[in-house]
Symmetry: C2
Subunit: 488 residues, 2 copies
């Protein structure tokens, strides 16, 4: 009888799994290597016709060891060394399948929107240096290695993909799968005119917006303070690095079970999990790179729900730490730091009209800084009294035109990757998460028989009515689709 | 600025909402009526073009006030009175849309597999007594009423449906929607030959199974105890009361916003939520009747994930308490009490062959009891020494044939409905759950603007690639579909 199944039946909260008794040498090596090591087991009922199909998976979460402005080859080499050490410990723990975090060979530089040097981290998914490195690991430890990288596809016009390569325990490249859903969120994307969240109307001050600037008309001699809050809206432009995957939903038959890889943002799309499951995945890895302000409250829900909805195991992996980039960039809602931004000032003497302007990112203003907010006196003489307000929200450089200016805080990091990698089971049970701040290896022993056992109990595939949904979705995507809304 | 959005950005756990300041008279009335009353608010960012679209929803969870063997009309009347009192309080709290639990006018008798008197609770969704009752409530309080009932569809051969009727605040029947997914789980269904989970082989005892009986061959004069564990497997037969809904995924445009109803087991199917959302639902109610052993560990995950995945509010409602039925019935894994069942005994003297037999449910054995396990001495003289073992697992009636018998614990209740109704928001935030044991009313104030705001931030509809999934699903349902499995 599946103890985890019984346990889920008994406890309303997430049932935690039995701790694995990991070898002392592995625990020592992990503490020497300064990374967390945890192990848990998921059990299933005994069957007459099948023996327990026990497999141990290893989830690796880590920070980038070297600063992002270190030469590319050095960064990659340092990451190879770091992961090699973790995989050594995974081998001591009897791990059969190991999976690394999204784009694990590089800092998550897509937030910068710069191409060089970041695109130099891209490599071939068939014979790039990282693949060769992973093949050695696989052969040495007879371990399946799932290696998510930035792929350079030279066979198709040198395009980039967000790809995971699956390497068999024999060392052969079993195949690759690509990120099916690309975010249009915050730092992943481009600039869009922000919405005004708050404008405290005060006597004698009025506001006009023209899609490029906010214009404040102020009665002469007014001395009141004004306050404006702005939240940049997420972009709806394309991701600037890679496009949606074109490989569908392949499942890989490994020596230890059928696995699939749902990369990062695909986690938010239940249909993505479903198609991997329909194709037979018993374990779906979700290598990710996501930050607190963006997704941390969703993190414990989505992969766990996917395990429940698809009668399979899911492995959610997220990197840790903060990555700093040489050049400043600005953000959507994904940005670190207080949201919304606040720009505030006391009006200078004799101000008649004030203008608050923004530039799109990548369009440096006269100071060579990207997106910014300029607050300048459009009418009247230049003033020495620059804007005041919460300093950390503002810079006060002078534009060449000599007007005082206030800027969004452009920043050099994407935010804090919160780790918290975990494994969820088809019966709704889950392991605790790894640390939010430390590198770590999570070892989970899975009896894959639990997938079919829970399938036979809940039967979501049987009751899923996919034919109906295939038809409804086909209708819904038509340009002239009319939603079925019943009115009185 | 949406405080809930900010909060989700800050806290890894489920962010809880601001408590509503509910009128004292309402709180007093609730305590007089002996039900819990809680209120929370979800906020959204201020917009320039839309004012806040604030709506208050009321979720009602309750036990059945009268025993299940009370005359049907009395049970219905008592439920009407109970819910009427709760709705009075909802009105005091300014509730605009109220939703009751699944099949709220009756005990959840489907586990009995008996037809009478339970099917007498079914009524017309257009002009049945409960609909008329709800229309009065709607008119009196200018409140939209969502009333999930067992529907008798006299226009289509008197078939039964698991239906929710939506009544406009004007009192008009706006329309109905039907349960799209029917469980094939445990008590919801019919009998299937169980699997043997454990048979402790002991010297001199062998086991043979013929799909109808377990035969134990025992060497004469053996005295050892034997032990057999059996777990009934969930059925794959049709539900015996109603079939899958045939009304698709209608969304109802009410005075207070666009709503849909995903009844109970549809909660487990992400595509069901998705189609309601694609059709424009801003609030999806999930009236349920589910028990701890079956689903409690999934409860906090599924509706919350649906709110996240579909940029809408979800309202999960579950009844409370335990309902006792006149006649015994047996269960699948959904059953209350220890699973698996254990049948054990010391062998009587001179036993040669023992037989353990089962009957399908609804086929009363000689004692007029449904599904049972008979353990009888097939060879040799009747023995006075009946089976022994954990008493609560066994009855020891004698069959007319005079052999000692052991039965599964047939029971008279479905299990414990754990309440815990809650509301989840598109940003991943949620309210606390209502009590696991008490009747209750949960009032939630929703700013529906949050749906489109989160949609614009996360953009799951935009990045959903539904065209691809419509095609993949259409392929996947074909009888000759070959899953995409990559082999070495």
């Amino acid at each position: 009888m599946s103890s985890s199944w019984l346990r889920t039946g008994r406890s309303p909260g997430p049932p935690l799994q039995r701790k694995l008794d990991l070898p002392g040498a592995a625990l020592e090596a992990a503490s020497r290597g300064d990374f967390e090591l945890q192990g848990y087991a998921f059990e299933a009922a005994a069957e007459q016709q099948r023996r327990p199909r026990t497999v141990r998976v290893g989830l690796v979460q880590n920070r980038t060891p070297l600063p992002a402005d270190t030469p590319v080859v050095k960064q990659v080499a340092a990451l190879h060394r770091r992961v090699e050490a973790v995989v050594e410990v995974a081998a001591m723990c009897g791990v059969n399948i190991v999976c690394f975090q999204e784009a694990w060979t590089m800092p998550f530089a897509f937030c910068t929107r710069e191409k060089l040097p970041w695109t130099e981290f891209a490599e071939s998914a068939e014979d790039g240096p990282t693949i060769k490195f992973c093949q050695e690991l696989a052969r040495k430890h007879s371990m399946v290695v799932v290696s998510p990288i930035l792929e350079r596809d030279s066979a198709h016009g040198d395009v980039l993909w967000n790809t995971a390569v699956v390497i068999s325990s024999s060392g052969a490249v079993l195949g690759k799968t690509r990120k099916n859903h690309i975010p249009r969120v915050g730092d992943f994307n481009e600039f869009k005119w922000p919405e005004i969240l708050e404008f405290r109307v005060i006597p004698g001050v009025s506001l006009r917006e023209d899609g490029r600037c906010f214009h404040f008309s102020v009665k002469p001699k007014k001395r009141e303070a004004w306050r404006l809050s702005i939240r940049p809206r997420p972009s709806v432009f394309q991701s600037t690095y890679y496009m949606e995957g074109n490989l569908g939903h392949p499942v890989f038959q490994t020596q230890f079970g059928r696995i699939a890889v749902n990369i990062c943002y695909g986690r938010h799309h239940p249909l993505n999990w479903l198609m991997f499951s329909i194709n037979g995945a018993e374990i779906i890895f979700n290598p990710s790179a996501t930050i607190g302000a963006l997704s941390e409250s969703l993190w414990p829900i989505e992969a766990r729900n996917a395990a429940i909805a698809n009668h399979c195991f899911t492995c959610a992996i997220n990197r840790v730490g903060q990555e700093h980039f040489p050049n400043e960039f600005t953000s959507g809602d994904g940005k670190k730091g207080p949201t919304p931004q606040t720009v505030s000032a006391h009006l200078p003497p004799a101000a008649l009209v004030w203008t608050l302007g923004l530039w799109p990112p990548g369009t440096p203003d006269e100071n060579g800084v990207g997106t910014g907010v300029e607050m300048g006196q459009a009418v009247g003489a230049p003033s020495d009294r620059g804007p005041a307000g919460p300093g950390r929200h503002m810079h006060t450089p002078r534009t060449p035109s000599g007007w005082p200016a206030a800027r969004f805080t452009a920043h050099r990091d994407f935010g804090y990757f919160y780790g918290s990698s975990y494994v969820a089971a088809p019966d709704g049970s889950r392991t605790p998460g790894l640390s939010r701040t430390r590198d770590g290896l999570l070892v989970a022993e899975l009896d894959l028989n639990l997938c079919r056992q829970v399938n036979d109990i809940w039967g979501f595939k049987m009751t899923g009515r996919y034919e109906m949904y295939a038809q409804e979705l086909a209708e819904a995507v038509k340009p002239d689709y009319t939603p079925r809304i019943v009115k009185e």
